[in-house]
Symmetry: C2
Subunit: 195 residues, 2 copies
DNA sequence: TGCGCTAGAGAACGATCGTTCTCTACGGTA
DNA sequence: TACCGTAGAGAACGATCGTTCTCTAGCGCA
């Protein structure tokens, strides 16, 4: 099927344009022009713009989460090193050219509660990130032999640091927010494990 | 001048609609209808939609920052109590009906780097918040007689917690992210002041 | 070679956007 | 009372949006 190739090119163009300029600011004709996929095929693959937006966020969610997970899993088994790997990954992401914050936060900010499918994808994306951080915290408390009582709170707090770093970096790209968040995370972990 | 009253009604309608549904999703005619201000007067007061958007964000910035500042200043002089007051204020904000995250983050996510005036207002808004947190941290280190070396890093980290709490609460409104951020902030302050 | 089906290119459609223009009605001044 | 300037109501304009339709050219198959 040549549809696969066309679909890839469409999602590539959609991701580049939607992320850089916002969903509503980019028309379907821009996506046709940048992807090289004829409008007819575009509408056969994605019957409405909302479908293309959902597919863009879906694919980005899968790739983003897989990339972060792979980078964490490639780190040494030491839980602290795994935590550090997560923040290193963030620092690299914040430094990429064209970085403009979290695509899911941006989409929600733009579309709000009106677009239910987008809202569901955003919630799922954030739940996956929270689950990944929860796994890191579980490793930390198990490794330290600490009681798992405060694990949920600690994971929630790491989530706040990660989300905060993304939000701050969106307005001023660069690795600094990730490094600061890492230092704060280490301090919070120290406090939680010593209690 | 009746223009003042019309301007207030316009900004009220603009704020309600832009914040709830996004800037691009709301047309000028919706604002005319909800404000009751005729289109002609609207365009005399704000010659283009971009001007109305900037005025909406400007007014919201002033009110938001003043409200948070007033709440912090109304707290007991104890620096820890002032810090707690800031997070209490956030918890109340997150619980307001219609809360949908930070209007400035949402506007930037929607309009991106294309709209320079909006970008400037967003940066200024975040700089004011960061300055307010910096003041709280200065009080803390002075009160504890600690060296002010790590004050900047600590303020940056409180900023991450606040931004993270806003981002998390945007998707699931309620006071919990503020309470978690407060606990994390206290732990970070403890660690910084004991070092 | 002739035929039917599909796909591509892009015009066209209706809706809606931001913005401007027209027309009418009214209020202040002589 | 007659007049003029302004303001309100809303139609109108050009642009652009998402989406569909038209037309033509090329391919597989008898």
């Amino acid at each position: 099927m040549e549809d696969d190739l066309a679909s890839t090119r469409l999602l590539d163009a959609a991701e580049r344009l939607f992320y850089a300029e916002g969903v509503q600011a980019v028309g379907m004709d821009r996506i046709r022009a940048e992807s090289g996929v004829p409008l007819k095929r575009l509408y056969r693959l994605y019957p409405a713009k909302a479908d293309l937006v959902a597919a863009y966020l879906d694919r980005r969610d899968v790739r983003w989460t897989a990339s972060l997970t792979a980078h964490v899993d490639a780190a040494p088994a030491d839980p602290r090193a795994r935590l550090a790997a997560a923040f290193d990954w963030l620092a690299a992401w914040f430094s990429e050219p064209g970085f403009r914050g979290c695509a899911f936060v941006n989409a929600f900010g733009e579309l709000g509660y009106a677009d239910a499918p987008v809202l569901a994808i955003v919630r799922r994306h954030k739940a996956a990130l929270r689950a990944l951080l929860g796994g890191l915290v579980d490793d930390l408390v198990r490794d330290a032999g600490a009681p798992p009582a405060r694990a949920e709170d600690l994971a929630d707090q790491l989530m706040l640091l990660v989300e905060g770093a993304i939000a701050v970096a969106a307005l001023r790209p660069g690795p600094a927010p990730a490094h600061n968040a890492h230092k704060a995370a280490d301090a919070l972990v120290d406090a939680a494990l010593s209690a």
